[in-house]
Symmetry: C2
Subunit: 399 residues, 2 copies
């Protein structure tokens, strides 16, 4: 009988996985293309598609399957690795002070607003802190895409927003490590807090320093390899080692992946690694977006409390980021546009929410409201940004 | 408690998986590079590396983990899809008759040899028949990899071996159903037998016909897509659908993946699909090769009877398949190379052996000897094949 089970593992499980992947890929492409034609970020369409095939509607995908969760996790790790690869430490330093002001304001204000909404609704301390932390992030991907499409990437607004978003990504992983260890039951102790912040910043700085020292050796090693897939496999070993180490040292797994990408981005192999990595990310990442959508139970919106919380968090999230643009006070930049460039929470917000649910700090209700906030900010941010920038372009062409 | 389980899935499992992948990638690259420098097919080095990190030596990798088996299965499916993409239907059909001769001879001769060895060692009828049946299969995966690595996939030898291996896979499914029902005590029913053969051949022919009809629609659809990863995702949906369907219809999963690749190969998107697919295959396939090596337990060779039986079955397996190459009598192909291309039993042989043990037809001793035969043929087949092909290349460059 044992062997029948073994045969089962060899035969049936791939069948089940294949069926799931077929549905996931199909849904994700249909959703992404529909969003594209509606001039929306594709990821919004993928989320919506996940909602359709998930627990709320068709129930074709059971998002609680361990294998799907695992593939989704690998997708997130690869996404953060890619984000690191596409970031540039130099350009971040150049825009400097303005960006730091925008990034910090853009984290503190939404955190306070979010915390206030949670407390006003009567939620406990830890849950409120975690939900508020989910408000602080910015999705670089969406922002960069909108700026590029409107020709603003290399203008003043674009530079500040992009630099602030990169800073936000870095600070975001620090915050993630803090709230993750809070979720694991570590009590809110200022010594612990400092320790976690120290570990994360230490890993970030140490990782970049050690990574940069290792880079010449890494590149020299890769040049020695001759067999197929040498660059991708070496990059994956590098990324997974940093990811593993980050979590083992008490930081967040994704900070490791991000640092690995940031370090590899300084080499001349950057473009090559990116082009090899893209298809692999494309294999895993749709699983993440569809799963997140599939987990949403729309029936929860019937609950009045959930509805109020969702609207409250979304308003706090939009207004909080809108304000942060005015921290760029020393420039001629359109401050409202800078703020709107920071509104979209995107995939980073979803990663936060998923970890909050996984560690049990967020209840299903709060998780749902946070996901609603993420979806609406991701939807509204690019929409409002393009509206403001287009109005500015019109007034510029008038004068 | 539910959340603790969820946390476990979200946090610990990725850590464990990452640690496994780091070891697998590292071992596979070291093995592949060593093999390359010894002028051997890299896949042999990967197998040897699997042996080193597996149960026989370091025990760093536990090959029985379901997640690794699943990733390995995906790797085999992608490999067969790639093999199909790199193959040419026309030249495969051209060698059709030769391939039928090679496939049939390659099943009958090893069966007789295996049966003789078993009887000579004094084993009962049913056990002997089952062990002999395990000798008849061919592993397309390993053979395809070696042929590709040596640039022989689209030469005469490669075409014959590939076509014969496909036929062998089809007949293998038939034999598997037959011996399974023999093990369960069902008598040999010719109507069932014909049904199984018909299904597999029907899928092969029907899949190619239907696939070719669907291709213009598929390409037109892909051209309409705008979002990132459109071609890869569409190709994966196509491949996985064929794979799923093949198994559901009672054929072998890998035949589905191969047919999907064969059909996509006829379009102008072939090169683009291949370049996107390579990195994804490079992610999954090392898991398969390392796992196969890691499963080998060399300690069992200490028992004398096991040793003799293992050596006997291995010799019968190698010589039996070597002879089948000479059934390709009407060609200029290197007949010994064709035979050697059929030697590797690979994953198919292991499935057979597992079922034999499960139904109780094979004793643990015989099961081990069969597994040793599978492993050694998988090792020796590609080794001898590359040896023969290289000698041929040398003599060709001399003349």
């Amino acid at each position: 009988m044992d062997y029948l089970v073994a045969t089962n593992v060899v035969h049936s499980q791939p069948q089940e996985l294949l069926a799931n992947l077929i549905i996931i890929y199909f849904a994700s492409k249909v959703g992404a293309e529909l969003a594209f034609h509606l001039k929306q970020p594709p990821v919004l369409g993928e989320l919506a598609a996940g909602l359709v095939v998930g627990v709320s509607c068709l129930q074709w995908i059971n998002p609680d399957q361990p294998i799907l969760k695992l593939l989704a996790q690998v997708g997130v790790i690869l996404l953060l690795f890619e984000t690191g690869l596409e970031s540039n430490i130099q350009s971040l330093i150049k825009v400097g002070f303005q960006a730091i002001g925008v990034a910090l304001t853009g984290m503190i204000v939404p955190f306070i607003f979010g915390y206030a909404v949670m407390k006003w609704m009567g939620y406990p301390e830890l849950t409120s802190i975690f939900a508020a932390a989910c408000m602080t992030v910015t999705s670089m991907g969406f922002t960069a895409k909108v700026l590029t499409e409107l020709g603003y990437l290399n203008r003043l607004e674009g530079n500040i927003v992009l630099a602030a978003a990169i800073l936000d990504d870095i600070l975001g992983v620090v915050i993630l490590s803090v709230i993750s260890s809070l979720g694991k039951g570590t009590s809110l102790n200022y010594l612990n807090l400092l320790g976690i912040i120290g570990t994360s910043i230490g890993f970030l700085v140490g990782g970049i320093v050690v990574g940069n020292l290792l880079m010449p050796l890494f590149i020299r090693l890769v040049r020695l390899l001759h067999t197929r897939g040498e660059l991708l496999t070496a990059s994956l070993i590098f990324c997974f080692s940093f990811t593993y180490l980050a979590e083992q040292l008490g930081s967040a797994a994704i900070i490791g992946a991000f640092v690995a990408g940031l370090v590899l981005a300084t080499t001349d192999k950057r473009d090559e690694v990116e082009s090899r990595l893209h298809p692999v990310t494309d294999f895993f990442l749709p699983v993440f977006f569809i799963i997140v959508g599939a987990e949403i139970n729309l029936a929860l919106l019937g609950n009045q409390q959930v509805l109020i919380l969702s609207v409250g968090l979304t308003l706090a999230a939009v207004i909080g980021k809108a304000i942060c643009g005015y921290a760029a006070f020393k420039t001629q930049a359109n401050k409202l546009a800078v703020g709107m460039g920071m509104v979209a929470r995107g995939e980073v917000g979803l990663v936060f929410a998923t970890i909050g649910l996984g560690t049990g700090v967020l209840t299903k209700t709060v998780h749902f409201a946070v996901v609603v906030m993420v979806i609406f900010t991701t939807f509204l941010g690019p929409l409002l940004l393009s509206f403001i920038l287009k109005r500015q372009q019109l007034s510029e062409s008038d004068s």
